[in-house]
Every structure is written in structure tokens, then in C-alpha cells.
């Protein structure tokens, strides 16, 4: 056995290249890349919600990560408690999450729309805290296991690497949803209203746009996307917890900032940068894997210092 390890290492050193402390074959690299792309797609889906809300209200919706968490639990209970087929359960979970997003907006943000921005920010932190604590009471603090659906979680083999079907499905689903979203925003009346409200609140109102309805609509769309992201997250990382939304939530906000907040393509680019960067960091520098969560924050601070408007954002100067 000992000699076996020796021989493998010897052969390995001939065929593998030495990259940043780990031996990396091309297949292994592609596997990491596929994982990175699928994680990036998930980040992108949730980041779109942040960027849309920020584009309209200039507000970090801290509760977005918790809406994402709620979607996972809705789907979990649909399948495990009510015994629904997974597709029915997923559709109901996504719809419920949309309703939840609109409810949060109506209760926590609408009453103080005219207040200073710091109050709205505190209100959004409060909403997030409330959702987390509600989840702890209702779902219990112990981790639950998200149902495994063979269609998504089966392994596919490529040469020597095994990859979950899900890894390929996530980017596809993201791409489809993104196209639908672009159509909605650029070609429909509701989309036009959203664009108008995000450009200028007052003028949009004068033009006869129902601002409150448009904002609710935006929250609904953002929450639907977060719900899809959440359910796929649950399939990919099956251990689910009431606080599971916090970290992905903050990271997706970071993704939105990196891409240029308020810009949907930017959010997608930011999501991919973050997702791929994170996976490759852990793959190439495994000794830094404990710092995985710090990576996105360091990236955020670098972006804020050197290009505060993000990759795709426009520069806004403050008027006196």
C-alpha cells in the first residue's frame, strides 16, 4: 500500500502541473470551473433581487437573504410534510416566496418611504432579524436535510470526474430566467414602469405610474428569483438552517456591488466573479479555505476603494 502511494505520487508529478500548492489536472480544473459557474449562477440569481431593489429604492434589502432561506423551507415542507410531488411543491414555494417579498415590502418599507435612508436601512435589518427569529421558532434551530431529487442530484461521469446533473442545470435555469427578466424589463409595460421609477420617482408619479405597485412588483420579481436560487441551493447544499440565508445574502449583495449596483447585467457578472473566484481560491489554495468567507469581503472592499460604482455602474456625483 505504501509503495502504491509512492508510485501514484511519482506518476502524478509527471502528468500533473504544480499550481499554487496543489496538483491540478485539466479534468479537475474543469470540474472546479463547472462548480464555480454553477455557484456563480446561484449568486447571480439572488444578486439580481438586490440590484433591482437598490435600483428603485436605493436600499440594501437586508431581508433578501432571509427571503431566500424561507423559499428553501417552503419547498422542504411541501415535499417532506405535505408529500407533494417536487414540481408542485417548488412552484408553490416560489409563489409563496413572491408573496412574502411583497408582504415584507408593504409592512416594513412602505410606511417609512419618506423617512431618512438610515431609518429604512434599520427597518430592513429589523425585517431580516424578524424573519430569522421566526424561522428559528417555526422550523427549529437544528439543520434539516433537503429532499434529494434524482433528476437533479444524479451523478454524470465525464472521463474520470463525476459531476451532479444540477451543476449543469443551474446555469441553464439562470440563463433562461435572465432572458425572461430582460424581456420583462425592456419590452413590457410593467418593465417600462420599473425603469421609469428607478430613474426618477417624482416624474414617474406625474406620468401616471402607480409607484407603490411598481415597487411591490419589483420586490415580487426579486423574491421569485431568490426563491428559484434558494431551491437550487437547497438541492446543491442539502443541509438547511434558519440562518443559512445570511452569508449567501451578504455575498450576493457584494456580487451586486462588484457588478455595479442597480445594473442587472452587472449583478450577473458580479455573481460569476464571486462564485468562480471562491471555488478556485479553495481549489488552488486549500490552506486558505478557512478564509473562504473573507474572500468576498476583501473583494468588496477592493472594489469599493478602486471603483466604487462597480464594473458596470455609472458614476454619480453628489450635488450640493
Amino acid at each position: 500500500m505504501f509503495s502504491g502511494i509512492m508510485r501514484n505520487e511519482w506518476e502524478g508529478s509527471l502528468t500533473k502541473s504544480y499550481l499554487g500548492g496543489v496538483y491540478m489536472t485539466l479534468e479537475l480544473f474543469l470540474q472546479h470551473l463547472a462548480n464555480g459557474i454553477s455557484l456563480g449562477s446561484l449568486y447571480a440569481l439572488v444578486a439580481i433581487g438586490y440590484t433591482m431593489v437598490y435600483g428603485i429604492l436605493r436600499l440594501i434589502n437586508f431581508a433578501h437573504g432571509d427571503i431566500f432561506m424561507m423559499a428553501v423551507y417552503f419547498a422542504f415542507f411541501g415535499v417532506m410534510t405535505f408529500g407533494m410531488p417536487w414540481y408542485v411543491s417548488f412552484i408553490i414555494a416560489i409563489a409563496l416566496t413572491g408573496v412574502l417579498g411583497i408582504t415584507v415590502e408593504t409592512l416594513a418599507y412602505r410606511p417609512i418611504r419618506e423617512a431618512p435612508r438610515i431609518s429604512i436601512l434599520i427597518s430592513s435589518i429589523g425585517a431580516s432579524y424578524l424573519l430569522e427569529n421566526l424561522a428559528i421558532v417555526i422550523y427549529g434551530g437544528r439543520p434539516k436535510t433537503f429532499p434529494q431529487i434524482p433528476l437533479f442530484t444524479d451523478m454524470v461521469q465525464f472521463g474520470t470526474v463525476h459531476i451532479q446533473m444540477l451543476t449543469f442545470m443551474i446555469p441553464v435555469v439562470t440563463a433562461v430566467l435572465l432572458m425572461l427578466l430582460m424581456y420583462l424589463i425592456n419590452k413590457t409595460k410593467s418593465g417600462m414602469a420599473m425603469r421609469a421609477v428607478s430613474k426618477d420617482f417624482e416624474t414617474a408619479k406625474i406620468m401616471g405610474i402607480d409607484v407603490n405597485r411598481t415597487i411591490s412588483f419589483t420586490f415580487g420579481i426579486g423574491s421569485l428569483l431568490a426563491a428559484v436560487g434558494g431551491i437550487m441551493w437547497g438541492l446543491k447544499f442539502p443541509s438547511i438552517l434558519p440562518l443559512m440565508g445570511v452569508m449567501p445574502g451578504i455575498k450576493c449583495f457584494i456580487a451586486a456591488v462588484i457588478g455595479g449596483i442597480g445594473n442587472i447585467q452587472g449583478a450577473v457578472i458580479g455573481g460569476f466573479i464571486l462564485g468562480i473566484g471562491e471555488i478556485l481560491l479553495v481549489a488552488f489554495l486549500p490552506e486558505l479555505s478557512g478564509y473562504r468567507d473573507a474572500f468576498s469581503f476583501i473583494l468588496l472592499i477592493l472594489i469599493l476603494l478602486f471603483r466604487p460604482t462597480g464594473i458596470m455602474g455609472e458614476k454619480i456625483s453628489e450635488k450640493v
Binding site: 436600499l59 416594513a108 438610515i118 429589523g126 427569529n133 421558532v137 478557512g290 476583501i298
Partner: protein
Amino acid sequence: MKRNTIYTITAIIVLFVFVYFGNKYLDSYLLRILNLCAIYTVLGLSMNLINGFTGLFSLGHAGFMAVGAYTTAMLTLPIATKQMNFFLAPLVSPLDKIVWPFLPSLLLAGILSAFVAFLIGAPVLRLKGDYLAIATLGFSEIIRVVFTNTQTITNGALGLKGIPATTNLWWSFGTAVITVFIMVSLINSSFGRAFKAIREDEIAAESMGISLFKHKVLSFAIGAFFAGIGGGLLGNMMGTIDPLMFRFFMTYNILLIIVLGGMGSITGTIISAFIITIAQEVLRFLDEPIFPNVPALPGLRMVVFSILLMLVVLFFRQGIMGTREFSWDKFFRFFTKRPLSKGGAK
């Protein structure tokens, strides 16, 4: 001496007489709550200086507290306990032999915390509003992640156990009184006026010749100094600390205190630190079974708390005190002039 100064000194003496007897006769449960009240006063004041008085919406408080708590704990832990704690990987060389008294450890904790704030603040304080909030939140998470991973310095995720329980009412209330005194002097000095000017309008403040950067970093570092001291007091009261203690929830609790008390009011922060700490203990019954046939819902207390905060933010945005402060004149006017004003005479 002015009349009001005499009143203040008398009040402090009364407080310390209470502390003297409290330390002797109260049971450990009550002592713990009172200690927490005083420590949260220190923490609330430090956050209010940054968020309420200078208008920098910083969410990095848990990180500064972590720096303070770990520094104090590492310096005050007896050598034998240190060896017991660090069984996975030995402690790095100079730290394993150092044992300091509490006061210098606490001061060093504050200074280190302020230094970290200075390092963070220099680049980050150029940001405004939401961006500052998320960047400081990010830094506090980075501090926590670093503490989780530096096994040989902080014992990583295992945390530190057996920290000497030095914090008593003298330490906690003493620190609280000193903090209040320093904060009041600071707010009424030219620095305090500059902080408030920055809060009201940055551009106007800058055109009046106030150096934005200098004052922001100063406010940030002073706030972090007291946050570090508060963290140190907290760690040496609890006896155990671990990185998970200093998650965003910790920052959130303190934010709750300053929002309820009023952003920009020292009096409000003190009142609400006591209210919230005591209420958190009083509402503990919510986590236990309330009705005979309904199973207990652990966590219900925090739900009630979050709803309370939402109500405060939505309907009483000014909090208890707004930006008003306590003064002896107002205090006596409240008691003496009340009956007269009923007549309608001015």
C-alpha cells in the same frame, strides 16, 4: 462649584454606594444582569458616537468587541488554563507566558481595538451610507473569520474557556461612569460639534473647514476603543468566548439599543441599555411553555424583540430621547414647574 456639578457628584456617590452594597448582598443572577446593563451602556455609547453623533452608519461593532474580548482574555488567562485551552495546537511563544492584571489588559484591548479601527477606517470611511454599512459589516466578519482560523493565537473555533471572572459591579459601573463622562466631554467639545456637523451635512461641514477624514477616523477609533473595552468586560464576565459570539447578532443588539434610545442621545442610550438588557431577562418566560398544553417555542423571545424593534423603527423613529439629553435643570423643572403650567400662564 456650580450647583449642577454638586448634584452630579452626589448622584455618582449614591451610585457607588449602591454598587458597594450590591456587590456584597445581591445574588449572582441579579449581579449578572446589572453587569450586563452597565456593559451594554458602554457598548451602546461607543456605537452611538459613531452612528448617532457622527452619522457614520457602521455595522462593525462586533468585530471591535471581538478584538477587545480576545485581547483581554489572552492577557488575563492564567498560564495553566491557557495550556488546557490550547490542546489542539500550542499557543505562540510570547503569549503563553504573559499574565497581566485586568486594568492594563483592558486598556490594551481598547487601544488594539482602536488601532484596528484606524486601519479599517482609513480606507473605508471614504464610503458613505449603505456602502459604509456593508463594508464595516464585511470587516467585522473578516475579523471573525481570522479569529476562527488562527488556531495558535485565538484557539480558533474552540474559543477560550476558564477566563477569570474579574468583571464585577465596580468594574462594569466604573467603566460605564467613566465612559459617560468622556462621551459628554467629547460631545460638548469642538470635536463633538465637528462630529455633529458632519452628521448634519458633510459638504457644509467640509466647507466650514472641518477635516472630514480626520474627524471620521477619530470618531471611529474612539468608538472602537470603548467597544474593545466593553468586549473585554463582557468576556471576563462570561468566562468563555468563541468567535460565534461575535456574529452580526451582537452588532444588531447594540444597534437595537441605540435605535430605541435615540440616535444621538447619551441619556437615551443609557436608559435603553438598561431597558433592553432587563427586558431580555424578563421576557425569558416566553421561551418556556406558557400554556399548559402548548409545547414551548424556544426563540419566541427574540421574535417578540424583533417585532418591538420594527415597531420602534416604523412608528417612533426618534426613539425614547431623540437627540435630547438629561440635565439637572430640566429634571427639576419637570418636578417643580409642572403644577404651575396647568394654569396656562407662561
